[in-house]
């Protein structure tokens, strides 16, 4: 069974030639062939090319995840690649190699950084019956035991994503209303990689201009860690792990946009999900409850490492990051001078499609929506294609109920339906104290010290990204029917 969100499974257009021949990526191989070349299969099953009596071993075809993302074919083949490139085994191997080098005092040890997302913490907190902060503190202990140098809370990146998104929205709104620019509204959320990948593969140029260019929290974390945290590591290389609620995040981390061509390093080297983490703990025979609490690092401002007890918080709005609520409130104030308290959503066809309206004297000023799950993505896309979308902003997530119900969250151990489990996760999330991204002093300092101000070229390159439509293959030899 595929682990990807259903939105990606459906765009798995044509994956039938034969079960062992799913991948249609054309592979270029450098070779000189003359009439006497023969391929021989040796007893060990390896392939050799025989040329004028000389045997030469043939290379196996290598396909990277980035290849899969650039291809119009299946996505399921990507899964086997993911499993080798971003697996628990790979993670353990990295830790073990690094630990060994440390012990033997060999140069070139890496600084291993682990960034933990709130959704994954909540999932494990329910699984191990811990409070969110305790769960985070114990996860920190677990990763430090494995060999992590720094364990950080990803809230900082969520704050940056929210601030960038709300500013982007204001720009788009003004461009649409004042300069009459087309194809900028509605702005569609960009933090869900399943949705972005589906849009790129299936709807291309129709939908992409509407998708917010703001990076997802994971990838903002990526640039923050690789581009800022490295500042006082004396050139020591960073290996960056994120702990997420969703398998599609592995695809996101593998996008070409998020790796540096110069250093050939990815901003997020390995994504590990809540369900995989549960598996790792079980394999190590560790009960998370039995571990002591340890601290999170806050390495962002001072040069010394600041260590703090995990103090998790929520944002206003949904458990997927709260984009719609944050942007709605900000835009109401910025554009119309209105202070909004609680946003009231009207549920449409189902609980996963709801909308909120800002009105003044009976006039509709803004209309926002939250659309979760593939069926609602479909309805939204069809509305957009027919020019019937009344929205200014839509928070779109591929999973029903959004990120708290991410595809790689720990499954219920007590026969709860996924809806009931999601409800528990939501309750736990809403029990956390609310913090506004505008009040995060560290973020403000990062704009100043790291990003060279708001809207600077640096801020754009570190906090935004681009999308590209995937062309459909017309090479008939590869068409699956």
């Amino acid at each position: 069974m595929s682990h990807f969100s259903s939105v990606l499974q459906i765009s798995d257009l044509d994956d039938f030639i034969t079960p062992s021949q799913e991948c249609i990526k054309p592979v270029k191989i450098d070779r000189k062939i003359n009439a006497d070349t023969k391929i021989k299969i040796q007893d060990d099953g390896k392939y050799y090319q025989e040329n004028e009596g000389v045997l030469e071993k043939l290379e196996k075809v290598q396909i990277t995840l980035a290849d899969c993302l650039a291809c119009s074919g299946c996505i399921t083949s990507a899964e086997s690649v993911l499993i080798t490139q971003q697996s628990q085994e790979e993670l353990i191997k990295v830790f073990e190699t690094n630990n060994k080098m440390k012990i033997e005092n060999i140069d070139g040890t890496k600084c291993i950084v682990v960034s933990i997302s709130i959704q994954a913490v909540l999932s494990l907190a329910i699984r191990y019956e811990l409070s969110p902060n305790d769960c985070a503190a114990k996860l920190s202990t677990y990763f430090r035991k494995l060999g992590a140098d720094i364990v950080v809370d990803m809230t900082i990146a969520e704050d940056l994503a929210l601030l960038e998104s709300q500013n982007e929205f204001i720009k788009r709104y003004r461009a649409a209303t004042i300069d009459k620019v087309n194809n900028v509204l509605p702005m569609l959320a960009s933090s869900c990689p399943g949705w972005v990948c589906y849009a790129e593969k299936t709807h291309g140029s129709y939908i992409l201009p509407f998708i917010s260019t703001t990076r997802s929290p994971q990838q903002i974390m990526g640039s923050l860690v690789k581009n800022w945290l490295n500042r006082n590591l004396d050139g020591r290389e960073i290996y960056h792990i994120t702990v997420m609620s969703c398998f599609d995040k592995k695809l996101e981390a593998s996008r070409e946009e998020f790796s540096s061509k110069e250093t050939n390093s990815k901003e997020v080297d390995c994504v590990i999900t809540a369900i995989e983490l549960e598996q790792m703990l079980e394999n190590d025979n560790i009960s998370l409850n039995s571990l002591e609490n340890s601290l999170f690092t806050e390495p962002w401002i001072s040069n010394e490492r600041c260590e703090v007890l995990p103090n998790l918080s929520k944002h206003v709005g949904s458990g997927s990051g709260g984009y719609a609520d944050q942007i709605f409130k900000f835009a109401a104030k910025e554009l119309f001078g209105m202070e909004i308290g609680n946003i009231e959503y009207k549920e449409l066809r189902n609980h996963d499609f709801k909308e909120a309206t800002l009105e003044q004297n009976g006039n509709i000023l803004m209309k926002f929506a939250i659309a979760n799950g593939f069926r609602n993505i479909q309805n939204l896309v069809q509305k957009l294609k027919r020019g019937k979308s009344p929205y200014h902003y839509v928070e779109v997530m591929a999973c029903p109920s959004g990120c708290l119900n991410g595809g790689a969250q720990v499954r219920s151990k007590s026969n709860l339906t996924s809806k009931e489990l999601t409800h528990q996760l939501e309750q736990l999330y809403y029990s956390l104290p609310t913090k506004s991204p505008e009040e995060n002093k560290i973020v403000m300092k990062l704009y100043e010290n790291w990003l060279e101000g708001n809207d600077s070229d640096k801020a754009i390159s570190m906090l935004h990204t681009t999308y590209r439509a995937v062309e459909k293959s017309v090479n008939a030899l590869n068409i699956k029917w």
Binding site: T18, P19, K25, I29, K38, Q49, A476, L477, N478
Partner: protein, 172 residues
Amino acid sequence: MTSRGCGTEHCCQQNPNPVIKEKTELNVEDKCISEDKSSQGEPLTDVFNNKIVFDLIRNIVDPEHPLTLEDLKVVQEDLVDVSDENNYVKICFSPTIPYCSMATLIGLSIRVQLLRSLPPRFKVTVEVTPGTHTAESAINKQLADKERVAAALENTHLISVINECIPARSKG
């Protein structure tokens, strides 16, 4: 990742030189006769036997080699089973290598050629010769699904490749 039949642009990468198999020398005289026949378009007779049906498919060209299915021993006369009175035709074809990713396309070409040249009363079965492909049953199932075949034939990209594989009637 293991080296699977990774849909390559050119199967030659999997099997650049299929001549490792012993190439059957065609009897020149036989060849002339058979080509003569096919050059005249529709078979002259209403009664079909395995030789006549084999003549219909022997000159189909491999999608990647400039060689015919007969040259490559992908089709053989003794793997053609015809019963005219029962309206029955069954072809077994043997892909050159057991994981050839072109096997379904070759099978489809054979199917299309027979669809175009046999009277509609025939029930045609095209299958991989047992033991010659790792995904034998999957390929057979797909080739037997007339709905999938019908849809495939409406795909202009696919049909143009198949048309290149199937020899034009006028070709000598």
